[in-house]
């Protein structure tokens, strides 16, 4: 087993990996950009190495600096988390050369599945159902126009190196194609350093169902059932759950076996996720392999009892899977809400600023994977995910109730977050009924606004504000807050006395 691991990431996922390492008796090395000196992952790791300026391209995406940090600290392996270099096959290959273990798939498989276009070709050959679309990246923009016409609008622009909704655009008409391609390319370039985009037929209102897989270095492959991630905004998941309401045991088994087939066809090892779209008629199509630990991995951990980060590290260290498919079962129901720094009333615009106060929800079956703390400033440079709230309960209804209670018990003061929006999502009758698809937010939450607040709570809030104005200040000093008006004004009691009226 490794003695020391470097985590080439930040935020909640770096914290998650550090925790797993601690439990396994492995020392950790954090890396950080200039604006992340005070970030939680830096405080938690055994060692921390600065790797450059705030823009990711000069720090968290800078392979030279990260490899130098691993060398300098003697880390034997690097965990890439998700995003940044997690699915960069050049990085994996360089580490292989440097004899540093990449905690993820081998570089050949990573290159294959990371190239969404080649992955489509391979899967089609292996007999896996794929979405109709382009099977190569064209050189000329006119080729996109031809392909889009052939597929029929609406079409989807996707980044070949993509993930997390970056570079993704729905295009409904020919006029939108060119600007969509330009924006998609720029986003892809800045997120992945690769501007290749391609087109796929847009499947209307599908469910997003993905299967977690684990494969060791000896050909043993298991799937850990599905997660449904249909609740998305800006093509990015915000609520995930397991099991999916759309699968019955037969379909689950069939999709699970297909997921394993995908893994084998790609020569894939370590943890990964095989994403499918499930259409209204329960046809499923291979979407892509996410060759990394997923944001929503805790949902699977709750339902299967398997610690996926620990498994990743064990597999990377050359250990065999200690269980087989028949040892795995799904228990109960898990839900995850992603907590973003964003304003749901302003088209989910990212918000930044200082978290003045954080109160984490707690309780049985509640897990809070968190990368922030009271007093921390949210930088503008990175993905605005702050934390994830995950709950588990015996069944879906109980899990929804538990999630609502936990969200009610969750305060992040000082910046806009998605918490109250998420409450309304989980409480929505269509969500409660399990009728979800990727159009859910658009269909039910266009122009969402926060509900009318309760007068009772407002009264308490005002009383608290008044009390606070009287009693507290930065150092316990009395500060004047609110507009205080003495109820008995001296001007009222002085009788006939007027300013400037000397007698």
């Amino acid at each position: 087993m490794f003695k020391k691991i470097l985590i080439a990431n930040r935020g909640e996922i770096a914290v998650r990996v550090i925790k797993a390492c601690r439990e396994m008796g492995i020392s950790t090395v954090a890396v950080y950009s200039d604006v992340d000196r005070k970030s939680l992952h830096v405080q938690m790791a055994d060692e921390a190495v600065p790797i450059g300026p705030a823009p990711a391209i000069e720090s968290y995406l800078n392979m030279d600096r990260i490899i130098a940090a691993a060398r300098a600290t003697g880390a034997e392996a690097i965990h890439p988390g998700y995003g940044f270099l997690a699915e960069n096959s050049d990085f994996a290959r360089r580490l292989e050369k440097e004899k540093i273990v990449f905690i993820g798939p081998n570089s050949t498989a990573l290159e294959l599945v990371g190239d969404k276009v080649r992955a489509r070709q391979t899967m089609e050959k292996a007999g896996v159902p794929i979405i109709p679309g382009m099977n190569s990246i064209p050189k000329d923009i006119s080729e996109y126009e031809v392909a889009a016409k052939k597929l029929g609008y609406p079409v989807m622009i996707k980044a070949s190196a993509g993930g997390g909704g970056k570079g993704m655009r729905i295009v409904c008409s020919e006029q939108e194609l060119r600007p969509g391609l330009e924006a998609g390319r720029r986003e892809a370039k800045s997120a992945f350093g690769d501007e290749s985009v391609y087109l796929e037929k847009y499947i209307e209102e599908p469910r997003h169902v993905e299967f977690q897989v684990l494969a060791d270095n000896y050909g043993n492959t298991v799937h850990l059932f599905e997660r449904e991630c249909s609740i998305q905004r800006r093509h990015q998941k915000i609520v995930e759950e397991s099991p999916s309401q759309a699968l019955d045991p037969a379909l689950r088994a069939k999709m699970g076996e297909t997921a394993k087939k995908v893994v084998r066809a790609a020569g894939y090892n370590n943890a990964g996720t095989v994403e499918f779209l499930l259409d209204k008629n329960k046809n499923f199509f291979f979407l892509e392999v996410n060759a990394r630990l997923q944001v929503e991995h805790p949902v699977t951990e709750f339902c299967t009892g398997v610690d996926l980060v620990r498994q990743q590290i064990r597999i990377a260290a050359g250990e065999k899977l200690s269980f087989s498919q028949k040892d795995l079962e799904q228990r109960g129901h898990a839900l995850e809400c992603r907590i973003y720094a964003e304003d749901a009333t302003k088209n989910f615009l990212p918000s930044s600023g200082k978290i003045l106060f954080l109160k984490e929800p707690k309780g049985p079956g509640v897990r809070h994977d968190c990368g922030v703390y009271s007093g921390w400033e949210v930088p503008i440079y990175y993905d605005p995910i702050l934390a994830k709230l995950i709950v588990w309960a015996e069944d879906r209804d109980a899990a929804c109730d538990r999630m609502l209670a936990a969200l009610n018990d969750y305060a992040i003061l000082g910046i806009s977050t998605s918490i109250s929006f998420l409450k309304d999502v989980v409480n929505h009758p269509e969500f409660r009924a399990g009728r979800t698809n990727t159009g859910f937010i658009k269909n039910h939450f266009e122009n969402w606004g926060e509900k009318e607040k309760s007068e009772d709570k407002l009264r308490l809030a005002l009383a608290a504000a008044a009390f606070d104005s009287i009693n507290s200040g930065p150092s316990g000093k009395k500060v004047v807050g609110g507009t205080q008006k003495a109820t008995v004004s001296p001007w009222q009691t002085l009788g006939h006395w007027r300013l400037g009226e000397g007698r």
């Binding site: 503008i380 993905d383 605005p384 009383a463 008044a466 606070d468 109820t487």
Partner: protein
């Protein structure tokens, strides 16, 4: 003492008087007695009729962020609210319109030039924040009067980006 606060742009009045056994809270028609205890710098307990309400509170300049049982209130002192318009909105004045940055970020594209005619909903510029591109659109039909920023520039929230003149 009577206090005035702004909550969601509405002025609210509340009276808080210290008396034996706690505070008398008068709000509108209602009057209750509460024992208020400070539990920590960010937490208050208001005991009213045998029930403790936990209130979380954080302060930032003229604002207080208050959280009670799943609801958040931003309570401001009147008269001290920010004079500037809200981020991302426009300030219309005599046919002129100032388009501001909706959040801190980086200008990655400017689609228009000065004097150019623009349609309603036309994308004027793109500001990137947290790896997402955000289209800055024109809310009116008119002309580009002035461009205050250039591509690559880092902008703060509420920074003026473009001034438009509306079509008469």
């Amino acid at each position: 003492m009577e206090f005035e606060f702004l909550v969601d742009k509405e002025l609210r009045k509340i009276v808080l008087e210290k008396k034996e056994g706690g505070y008398c809270i008068a709000y509108g028609e209602n009057q209750v007695t509460a024992d208020i205890q400070s539990i920590s710098p960010h937490v208050l307990s208001l005991m009213i009729d045998g029930r403790s309400y936990l209130v979380y509170i954080a302060r930032d300049k003229e604002k207080k962020y208050i959280f009670i049982d799943g609801q958040q209130f931003i309570v401001q002192e009147p008269g001290r609210e920010t004079k500037s318009f809200h981020a991302g909105e426009e300030k219309a004045q005599e046919g002129k319109l100032l388009i501001t940055a909706p959040m801190p970020g980086k200008v990655i594209k400017i689609h228009v030039v000065e004097q150019q005619e623009v349609r309603k909903n036309q994308t004027l510029a793109i500001v990137e924040a947290m790896k997402m591109e955000n289209d800055i659109k024109s809310s009116v039909e008119g002309f580009v009067k002035k461009i205050f920023v250039s591509v690559g520039e880092l902008v703060d929230s509420e920074k003026p980006l473009i001034e438009l003149e509306t079509k008469k």
